[in-house]
Amino acid sequence: MTRIRKIKDIFMQSLTWVASGISAWVLVAILVFIFSNGWKLLDRSVLFGDYHAKNIVSGFSDEHNADLTFTPPDTLEDGDVVSTRFGFAVRDEIDKEKNHVHTLTWVDDHSPLLNGKITTAGPTQGTPAPFKAGMNINKFVYLDNSGEAITVGRLKQQSPQEWIPLMDGNAKQITEFHGKEPGGGMRGSLMATLILIGLSLLFSVPIGIFAAIYLYAIAKQNRLTTFVRSSIELLAGVPSIIFSMMGITLIFPIIKLFGASGQSIILGSLTMAVLLLPVLIRQTEEALRSVPSSYAQASLALGATQTETLFRVVLPSARNGIFSACLLAVSRIIGESAALVFTMGTAIQDSPKIGSSATSLAVQIYVLMGGENPNFELSSAISIVILILVLALNLTVKVVSALSDKKGKA
């Protein structure tokens, strides 16, 4: 080998290394970014909590027994400021939406905070509204010895180190405490995503399977079939934002007849169903084609009709492939945002309903990142959930196809 050839060889090889190195590095970088930003945030309250914070005003009319003192548990950390008189601890921190909050880290089982009742006038007045660990305290209003109402707390720009001793020393009776259950959870979007998956598959899978069967077995191989087939191929390449527009202009007038009123999960899932059809049809047909023709021959030779052969032998034999197609469709739904922004809306809901607007996980990220101060942390936490779901689905597809390969060889 000449020198030149050797150099050429090394050069070409290093090109392949660089290329694969770059792709691997980019993937790892994305993962590292998402996990470093979102991992510390990801807990029960993010996964299953409400997105919208709930404001609560509570208080009690009785005077507090001044002799009572509480001892804090050992589990409290540095920075937790304890009110021994009222039996709670508060910590100054930054919440998921990047605001300064005073979070309750401990509330004693006998703390008066647990006896709070809603004090604002209205139908809910008097109902219990206990303050528990995890909630944020905005302010306290108490009466001091002279009977004057004093307001303390975060809203007065006081740190816990300032206002807790003040209250412990002077309060005769707490008349109001204002707080909120922190938001920033993804439960609503998670539920909306599940509903979306269910409805989209409900509409698209039967149509996709039957269309694939038609193309595979029943359609005559003529110009029309070729046209239908190439339309499906083309449709698979149409950007999803165009499907979103189609959803508004074509599907919305139809579901309007049934009383739908605008952007809704049902409109989103019908749009997703149309978007998924090409992929589903193509992969189902592929799965049907991979069934050995000897099965169909055997069935026909046993006096089964064409239809019986299709539904009793060919379709069941293709079920792994069809199942994989459905799983890939699910991961497509989880990851889709463009097709849903117009059809399902961008209003994050804590309890999504089929007939009204909601966001999927991906759209929630779109919303969170779209505001004036994008919320990287919460978005990353949602991304982690999306990635884990999609990864699990892809792994399942791999396992299923490996299993069916093994079976095919046996």
Partner: protein, 284 residues
């Protein structure tokens, strides 16, 4: 050369006459013939422009084993697939001439091909059980027929598997996936599956070519037992197999039926030079 062409023309012309005669004066002639499973009269078969079978005329005897032999591409499998009209599945395949079964041309309009296939079973070259349980494989044909009674199905499965000499091996795990069986067991399962429909005829397209010698011997034993009840037509590449198990042998070459007769005669005193050359292994 020209003489043989003329001969063929005559034959074809005669065949057409015979055919019209058969359909006009009633297909009685073939129907009356006892002990004939299929009466094949002047069958020509075309794949597009290619003629795969040329003027085939022969009677397949009932309750005997008839072997079709010949080199690859001679048309023996094609003819076999005419008996249950599996050639219908091939797009540009065209069959001329008549094949009478119980006096009726099976290519006729009145014949229900689904019904025909329940009476004429088929076993393929590659064992092709469905990826279902053994039980579901055997009962498949009956279930398609609309049989739902578990008792009837149970009995049919048991008796079919017994006839196919597989019962003892599988009776304790009928729910097991059929694709887990060995090749020979799978082929016997395919035979059982065909028997379950109580056909008159079982067509076998090189049923042992994918099997090892021991499995082959078992299938051959089975075929000899089965001819008591069924007419068997078997396509085989193995001359020794044809000699061992068949009563009648037909030798095909390039779409022509060269010679048809009792197996002993064909193998011991072949009338045609080409038959002799093939049997003695001069080509093939």
């Amino acid at each position: 050369m020209s003489a043989s062409k003329l001969q063929k023309f005559m034959k074809r012309a005669g065949g057409t006459n015979k055919k019209t005669m058969a359909s006009s004066s009633g297909s009685s002639q073939a129907a009356q013939r006892e002990n004939v499973a299929f009466a094949i009269e002047d069958v020509n078969l075309f794949y597009g422009d290619f003629q795969a079978l040329k003027d085939i005329t022969l009677d397949i005897p009932a309750h005997q084993v008839t072997a079709f032999i010949g080199p690859s591409g001679c048309g023996k499998s094609t003819l076999l697939r005419c008996f249950n009209r599996m050639n219908d599945l091939i797009d540009n395949c065209r069959v001329e001439g008549a094949i009478y079964r119980n006096g009726v041309d099976i290519n006729g309009d009145a014949v229900d091909v689904v019904d025909l296939r329940t009476h004429v079973g088929m076993v393929f070259q590659q064992p092709n059980p469905f990826p279902k349980s053994i039980y579901d494989n055997v009962s498949y044909g009956l279930v398609c027929q609309g049989v739902r009674s578990k008792k009837v199905l149970d009995e049919a499965v048991e008796s079919s598997l017994k006839k196919a000499a597989l019962w003892e091996e599988v009776k304790d795990h009928l729910r097991r996936d059929a694709t887990q069986l060995s090749g020979g067991q799978q082929q016997r399962l395919c035979i059982a599956r065909a028997i379950a429909l109580q056909p008159d005829v079982i067509l076998m397209d090189e049923p042992t070519s994918a099997l090892d010698p021991i499995a082959t011997a078992r299938i051959e034993d089975l075929i000899t037992q089965l001819k008591e009840e069924y007419t068997i037509v078997i396509v085989t590449h193995s001359m020794s197999q044809a000699a061992r198990i068949s009563d009648k042998t037909a030798f095909f070459l390039l779409g022509d039926l060269i010679e048809f007769g009792a197996t002993d005669d064909i193998f011991q005193n072949p009338r045609d030079k080409r038959t002799e050359d093939y049997i003695t292994g001069k080509f093939g």
